[in-house]
Amino acid sequence: MHRQSRWIPAALGAARCGYISAGCKEGPLNAAIGESVSVLALIAVLAWAVIRPRGWPEAVAAGPAAVILVAVGAISAGDAGAQARRLGPVIGFLLAILVLAHLCDDDGLFKACGAWMARSAAGRPRRLLTLVFVTAAVTTAVLSLDTTVVLLTPVVFATAARLDVRARPHVYACTHLANSASLLLPVSNLTNLLALAASGLAFGHFAALMALPWLAVIGVEYAVFGRFFGSDLTPGSAGPRAQRDAGDGEARLPVFTVTVVGLTLAGFVGASAAGVSPAWAALAGAAVLAGRALARRRATPLSLLRAADVPFGVFVLGLGIVVAALVSNGLGSALRPLLPAGTSLPALLAVAGVAALLANVCNNLPAVLVLLPLTAPAGAGAVLAVLLGVNIGPNLTYTGSLATLLWRRTLRHHGSAPDLGEFTRLGLLTVPAGLVLAVLALWAGLRAMGG
C-alpha cells in the first residue's frame, strides 16, 4: 500500500488532498469563463517560454499569468497558495541540485570524467559509447538531466574529437539519456521531484521501484544505438590526431567534491527515511561546496546566485498555479476518462502512453503538472507510470515537444535544417520499446515490493 511520505509536512499533505478534490464550485457560466481564461493563460505562458521575446526569462510571463488567474477568480487564492506551498520546497530542492552540479563542474569533475573516458576508451569508438552511457546515466541520475545536457555533453564532444572518433553517436547518447536515464532518483528530473510528494513514497522506495525500469530503458537505448550507429562505431586508424597529451595529468578526479556528492546522496535516503525533507541534504551538500569555493575565491555570491537560476524557479511556480487553475476548471474532468485507475498492467501502460503523448504535444513539465492530481488518487504505481511517460516520451522529438519543434523550425531562416529524419527514426526505435519494457519492469517491481 502506498503511504503518506513522512517528510511531507501536514500542510502539504492537506494541500495535496485539496488539489485532488479541486473542482468547479461556481456556476456553469463562471466555470466556462474560468476555463477559457486558464487555457489562454497556459498557452501564453508556454508560447512565451518557447519564443522567449527579446531573450527575457520565462518567469516574466508565468508570474503575472498566475497573478491574473487569481485576480479574476479562475483559481482561489487559497488553492493558489496551497500549490505554491507544495511547489516551493520542490523548487528549492532543484535549485540546490543545480548549484551543486555547477560547483562540481567548477571543480573539474566533468573534465576528469572526459579524461577518464578518453583513457579507458583507448581510441575504440564502441568502448567510448559504453563509457558515455555509464557516465551520462549516472550523471543524469545523481545530478539531474540539466547537468547532463548543459555540462556533460560538451565534454563528451571534446573527448570524441580528441580521440579522432565521430562525435555524433556519443552526443546523441547524452541527449537521449538525459531524458530516459532520468527515471532512477527523485533528483534526476524536476518531473520526479514534483511527483515524489504526490506519490507519497520515501526517497529510497522511489529509487527501488524505478531501478528496474531505469536499467530496462538504458538497455534498450544501448542496443538500438549500437546497431543504429554501427558504421560510425568502427575503429578507424586509431590514435589521437595530435602529439599532445591534452593535459590529461591535470584532469584528476576532484576527490573532495565527489565525496560531498556521495554523502549528499546518502543524505537523501537517510533524511527521507528519518522523516526529514531530502531537500535539506541537497542544501547541505551545496552549502559545503559553495563555502569551499567562496573560501578559495573560485566563486562569488553572484556566480552562485546565477547558478541557482531563480527566474527558473519563479517560472515553475507560475506554471504550476496556471496548470492548477486549468485542471480545476475542466481539463481534469476531460482527461480523467483517458486515465484508467488501478495498477494493473494495461492501466499502467495506458497512463504511461497518455503521459508520453501529452509530453510530446506541449512539454513534459506542464504534462506532469496536469497529470499528477489526476493520477495521485490511484496510488504510487500510477504516478510512477506518468513519470515513465513524461521522462522517456520526449526523445521522440529532438526538442522534447512538438510545440517547441514547430516554432524552432519556423525560426530557422537559413538553409541547413537539422536532420530531423535521423533523430526521429532513432526516437521511434527507442521510445515505444523503452516505454513498454519500463512499464513491464515497474509493474513487476510493484508486484514484488508493493507501491
Binding site: L151, T153, G400, D419
Partner: protein, 179 residues
C-alpha cells in the same frame, strides 16, 4: 584521347574523423604520377562539419523549458570549428606539401559531392563496418558519395586492404550443379 584529358590536375582528399590518414596517404602515393611537368597537381583537403550533433544539443536545451544559462549547443559549435581546424592542420602536416584546406558546414555527403564536382579525382575512405567484407564496408555518407560523385572516385581502405582469399565462396546452386 589527348594527354591533356588524362592528366589529373586537381585532387580532392576527403578528410574524416578516424579515416583521414588513409586518404592522405593515398594522395601521397599518387603525388609522383599526377599533374604534368611544369604544372603540379593541386591538392585540396576537404572536411565537412555536419550540424547534426550541435542541433541535437540545441534541441535538448530548448526541451529544458525555462532554464536559464548558456545554450550548450553554441559551445558545441565552437568546439566543432576548433576540432575541424585541428583535423585539417594534422592532415596538412601529414601530406607535407602545399595544399588548400576547405571546411564546409552542412550535410556531409551532399557537401562532399557538391564541393568535388569540378575535381579530377576525389579520394574517399571506406567508413563502414570493415570487419566483414561487403556492402556494409561503406557507411551512409561514403555510399552516397560513391553513388553521386560527379568526378572519378578513388576508394581506399582505412587499414591494409584485406586479402583476396577473405572473399566468401560463390553461392552454391544445386539445380545448376554448382558452378
Amino acid at each position: 584521347m589527348t594527354d591533356r584529358e588524362t592528366t589529373i590536375r586537381s585532387v580532392y582528399i576527403w578528410v574524416r574523423e578516424g579515416t583521414w590518414r588513409a586518404t592522405v596517404d593515398a594522395a601521397l602515393s599518387l603525388a609522383p604520377v599526377v599533374g604534368s611537368v611544369g604544372s603540379e597537381a593541386r591538392f585540396t583537403l576537404l572536411h565537412v562539419t555536419s550540424p547534426a550533433a550541435a542541433d541535437a544539443v540545441h534541441g535538448a536545451y530548448w526541451g529544458l523549458l525555462g532554464r536559464g544559462g548558456q545554450d550548450p549547443g553554441d559551445r558545441l559549435e565552437v568546439l566543432g570549428r576548433a576540432s575541424a581546424a585541428e583535423l585539417l592542420e594534422a592532415a596538412a602536416r601529414r601530406l607535407g606539401r602545399p595544399c588548400e584546406r576547405l571546411e564546409i558546414h552542412g550535410s556531409t555527403e551532399r557537401a562532399v559531392v557538391a564541393a568535388s564536382a569540378d575535381a579530377d579525382l576525389l579520394i574517399v575512405a571506406r567508413d563502414g563496418d570493415r570487419s566483414r567484407l561487403g556492402p556494409k564496408s561503406l557507411g551512409k555518407a561514403a555510399r552516397f558519395v560513391v553513388d553521386h560523385a560527379a568526378c572519378p572516385v578513388l576508394l581506399v581502405w582505412p587499414e591494409a586492404a584485406p586479402d583476396v582469399g577473405t572473399i566468401p565462396p560463390p553461392p552454391h546452386h544445386p539445380h545448376h550443379g554448382g558452378r
